[in-house]
Every structure is written in C-alpha cells, then in structure tokens.
Symmetry: none
Subunit: 206 residues, 4 copies
C-alpha cells in the first residue's frame, strides 16, 4: 500500500483537505460531536497537523463556515446590475443559482450547520446576517420593487418583505437535509409554484 508517512504537500492544499474533512464531519455530526482527531484522520494527516493550520477547533469551524459563502454572493450581485433582465427571470435565476450552488451541493449542509450552531457562535451568525442575509435581501428588495413598478406582482406589498422570497429556499434546505429521506420534495416545483404565486402570469400579448 501507499506509504503514508510524512507526506509533505502544498500547504494550501493541506488546508483545503482539512477544511474538506471538517466540513463533512461538522455537517454530519455537528460541532460538538466532531472530534479533531477524526478530522485529521479523514484529511489523511496526523492529529497535530491540524493545529499547524488552525489554532483550535473553533477557529476551524468559523473559517469553514465563513469561507464558503462568498462564491455565491458574487454571482447574485450580477442579477441586479442588468436591468434588462425581467424581475421574474432574475428571481428564478436566483432560485436556480441557489439550487445549483447550495441545495444540490454539500454546501446545503453548511447552512443547516449555521442554523444549528449559530447561537454558540455569535460571530458566525453576525457574519452570515451581514454578508449573506442582508445582501441577499437587498438584492431581492430591488428586484421586487422593480417588479412592483412594472406591475408584475400579484401583491406589490411583497416588495417590502423579501424574507418571503427567501423562505422557500430555507424550507428547501431544511427539508433536504432533514426530511428528504422520509418524503421527497420537488424543489424545482416548489420554487416554480412560488414564482407563479408571486408574479402575475405574463399577459400573452398586451
């Protein structure tokens, strides 16, 4: 078998390996039930090596949870810029993005992790509110107001409650990570149905 001792590797890669291992374990068992040694084993390194990259368990958790969100955000920003994109399309792209980048990825467990461990790590929660929630809501608010102005919303008041648009996404995350094994939820249909509830049907030829 492969000699596995003292394998030196690119530190960046090493760190990524650890984060990967930590992610899998934290997602599966939560913060407290994850042993640092297990993280090390899963990353294929020795116990002590983890501590060369992260000062302690909490730092590992926080870096993990904080680090994964950014790639999503950057993509969302693009949605508002282009005013040519019809609001409904933009929101549907938002959902599609969410499905592709979160729901159908292992990242979906990450969100559950934040929900689960949030109160124990106020810094993480605050980060998520500031960086993800707040920005996501901002984008949605703009899109919804644009739609309202264009008379495309069934209920224009929704524009002041962008949380309503996020709610199905949250539901899909929770369902997929907790209940999916007991009962399937068609998230595509979930989002589509919601879009149809939110937006007036396009009047064929107006």
């Amino acid at each position: 078998m492969a000699a596995k001792k003292r394998e030196k590797r690119d530190p960046q890669q090493r760190k990524a390996d650890i984060l990967g291992a930590a992610f899998a374990l934290f997602a599966e068992r939560g913060f407290a039930a994850t042993r640092m040694e297990d993280v090390a084993i899963r990353a294929g390194i020795a116990k002590g090596t983890v501590y060369l990259h992260f000062p302690d368990k909490e730092a590992l958790f926080i870096e993990l949870v904080s680090g994964i969100a950014s790639p999503i955000l950057s993509q969302i920003d693009g949605l508002v810029q282009n005013e040519a994109i019809p609001p409904r399309l933009a929101v549907s792209i938002f959902y599609a993005l969410f499905r592709r980048e979160v729901l159908e990825t292992e990242r979906r467990h990450l969100l559950r992790l934040v929900l689960a461990e949030g109160p124990m790590f106020p810094g993480v929660t605050e980060f998520y509110h500031r960086e993800i929630i707040s920005k996501g809501l901002g984008v949605l608010r703009i899109l919804l107001h644009r739609a309202a102005r264009r008379g495309e919303l069934r209920n224009p008041a929704v524009a002041e409650m962008p949380q309503l648009v996020i709610a199905p996404a949250l539901m899909s995350i929770i369902w997929s990570t907790l209940f999916e094994r007991y009962e399937h939820l068609d998230t595509q249909k979930l989002f589509d149905t919601f879009l149809d509830t939110l937006f007036l049907p396009e009047r064929a030829a107006q």
Copy 2:
C-alpha cells in the same frame, strides 16, 4: 431546622420539572453543551435524581423533543374539522396559533433544536416528520384545496405545495432565534403579506 433535603414530590411533577429545566438548557445551548448537572440544578434536584426518571441524557432529550409538539397539533386539527371557517381565516388562525404557541414562546427554540441536533437523532427527525410536519402539511393541503375549490387562491397550484405555507413560519423561527438581534422582523406583517399573496382579496363588490 428547615427540612430541605430529600424533598419528596409527585413523580409526575418531578419529571415535568426536569423536562422544563432540560428544555430551557437544551434550547439555549444545544444537546452537547448542556450538562446533566445543570439540568438537575435548574430542576432543583440532585444530579443523581435525574437518572431516576430518565435512563440517560439521550432519552431525556428525545422525550423532551417529542413531548412538546403534541399540544400544538391538537389545536391545529380543529381547524379543518369546521368547514364553516373560511380557508383564509383558517390559515391565518394557523399562523396566529403558531405565533402564540411557538414563536412567542420558548418553544420557538425547539424547532432550532430539531434542526441542530436532528442528524444526530434520526428518531427525533423521523418523529417530527411523521407527527408534526406530515400532519401539518396534511391540514394545510386540505385547507388549500378547499380554498382552491372556492376560487380563493391566486395560484391554485399552491394547494399541492403546502410547504410554501410553512416556509414563512420556518423563516420566522430562524429569524427570531438567529437574526432578530441584528435586524427586527415584523412577523405579523410577514404572515399577513404572505396571506395577501396567497389569497385573492375578498371581492368587495360581489
């Protein structure tokens, strides 16, 4: 000479005390970070006494999480029975019930607890799906279909996606337990706006 030791009490009451203490602590800190001794202290009894009522920490947690939901369920059932109640009113009562019995109670932490610890306790998750989610969705499905039949829904397809109705409730729970401290969310308005989105306005001049 105050005899304070070996205070005997109704075992049922004793058990309820323990569950109450456990609830407060589990809700606040999660399963792992809650110490059995703290539960005992909060319940006003000695460490060992907890074990006279529950075989171990896990059993305590499971009984706790399983036991708290039922009172809500029974009230919800009533909503469907009476066909005289208009669907929109029924759903709004559903939300009101949710707000009064969950959101504005310490019980709101319960759902977060299930989210947080769910994967570690598949039995709990399964129980929640079977007893709460499934039944709640069933009730909502009936109400929505009734509304659809009466032509009160903006988008009748919603009747097949009762999860959409639960989504705002979920959002309100998560918001209140995680983000409320950073940004206030008016849950009353959240639900009302959603109801207005879901249901057609009552035809003023019918």
Copy 3:
C-alpha cells in the same frame, strides 16, 4: 484484596490526602513533571476526584505551598514577646524550631519548591515574602537590636541585616535537599558555629 471502589470519606480527610500526595510528588519532581493522575493514584482516588477538591493543577499547587507555612509562623511570634528570653537563646530557639519544623520534616522540600517554582507563580512568591520572610526578618531584627543594646553582638551592625541570620537556614535547606547525599552537613553545628560567630561568648562571671 481490599475493595477500593467508591470509597467515601470525610471530605476534609480527602483533601488532606490529595495535598499529601501532591506534596510528595511536587517536592520530588517539581510542578511541571507531576501528573495530576499520579497525584490521584498516590492519594488512592480516581483522576477526576482531585478536581472535586481543586479547580486545577495550579490551584492545588498554590494551596499546597501556601498552606504549610502558617504553623511555623505562629510559634516564632512567641519568641519576641517574652523579653525575659535572652536574645541568643531566642535565636537559637529560632534555629531549633526551624530544624524541628522544617529541616527534619518533609516540609524542607516545600521551601525548595518555592525557590524552584517561584518565578512561575508570582502570587506564591509574594505570599512567601509577605507572610514568611517579612515576618521572620521582623522578628529577627527585634531580637538582634535587643542583643545589640545589651552589648551581646560581636558586630552590632548585624542588627540591620537580619538576612544574615536567615542565610544559614537557607543554606541548610538547600544542602539537605540537594547535596546531603553527596556530603553530610551537620546543621546543628552549622547553626551553633554561626551563633558563636554572631554573639560574644557569655562572660562567665562578670
């Protein structure tokens, strides 16, 4: 063999056992090299039990080091009170006390411990200076001044350097704990010779 499990005992006795075990081990190996588990084993209890009596290793060490000095102090105080005792006799009693209570006891290791670990525990050092050194020097200063006034000192200036009287005691401690095994030192003779150097011989019949 004796069943040793779950032996309950007077907490005061328990604590004394732990302090005794800790004393032996700290004295022998120093703070860092003493394992808490060894303390427990030597005290005949389980690892965790130590922590029922002391919050951590440092607290154990500090209580140990701080607790043993007082009995000596009280006896010394008596020496100055009685002005009928001739100064030379008083100082020789001081040395005798020191030999009986420290040098020929296991307590002699304690002093070495303070010298050894002092810099790591400023609180302990400060305590020793304030409670032991300072008071001892005060007593000696009074005795020496009394002797000087009575013309019994070979060099009256010694009265302003009571540290000189403590020096042989320190030497005896260090010798006995470090070098005695290589070369014997007659501490009785050490102190007597010093006394003869300090005090003029009693003029037989003057």
Copy 4:
C-alpha cells in the same frame, strides 16, 4: 534576493548561540516551560537545527548548566595561591567576584535553575557539588584556616564551617531572583556586614 536561508556558520559559534538562547529561556521559565522551538527562534535558527548540536532537550540542559560554572572556578582558584593576600581581602574578593560574575549577571538565575531542576537531574546536582560547591568550600576552608592561624577570626571554629561563608551568597541569589521586586536588599552591605562579623577589625593600635 537576500540569501538568508541556510546560513552556514561556525558550528562552535552555532552551538554557543543555542546555549545562550537556552540559558536565557531556561533561567526565565525553567526546564519544562521552555520549548525547544523557542530556543531555536531565539538562537535565530530552525527548530530542527538544535538537534544537530544536541541529541535532546535534556542534553542541552545538562551541557548548559554544566558549562557555565567553570569560568568562575578558575578565578577563585587564584585566590588561594597567593599567600600574600590577607584572608579577609581574599574572602572579600571572593564576594566581589561572586557579585560581579554571578549576582549582577544573568548567571544568577543559574543557581536557582539548579535548585529548581536539581532533583530531576541528579547528574547535574552531583556535578555542581563536585565541581563548584566542593571546590569553593575547599578554597574557603584554606582561607579561613589561614585567617584562624593569624588570629583574625572572631570565632576560629568558622574555619570548619565554610558553608557559613557561602550562606550569604546563597541568600543574595535567592533574594535577588525571588524577592528583590518586593523589597530591596543591599548585597554589598550584606557581604560587608558579614565580613565584619567574621573577621576581627584590624587592630588599629597593635
């Protein structure tokens, strides 16, 4: 383009650097609390490099503690050789040497180090007794006997207790490393007073 890595240097110098760094750290924190990595950093080299010069931490400590004493010894030896030097002057030179070479140097921590770690390193203690203590006492014994023969001692019996002469030196070391911060001790005066107690004043009119 500054080539700073793999700086080669005279191995002897390298070793001296390590010993210097080790001394500073051992003296300040003791054996256990000194990390090999800190020694390396302070010596300006990499962690592994220390092990090219010393097989392990203990060897480094022993060589350090053993090596520092010799320079003092050689100077002391000279004191006895020259019989023209009056004993009192010789002893006062001994103290002066001690002050200059030990007390006012970082070397003063060395003795405390031997005290502190002695029992863990019997070899070191034995070495100190054999090389330093024994020799120092030998020299003092000769000087004191010389003085006794010349009738210069207040108490000739002191000649058989040279430890008494070392005692104030010990006291000064311990005071300076432990208590100086709480209360100043004038070591010059300490030694002078002791000399005046040991030796008869020079007979002005003989």
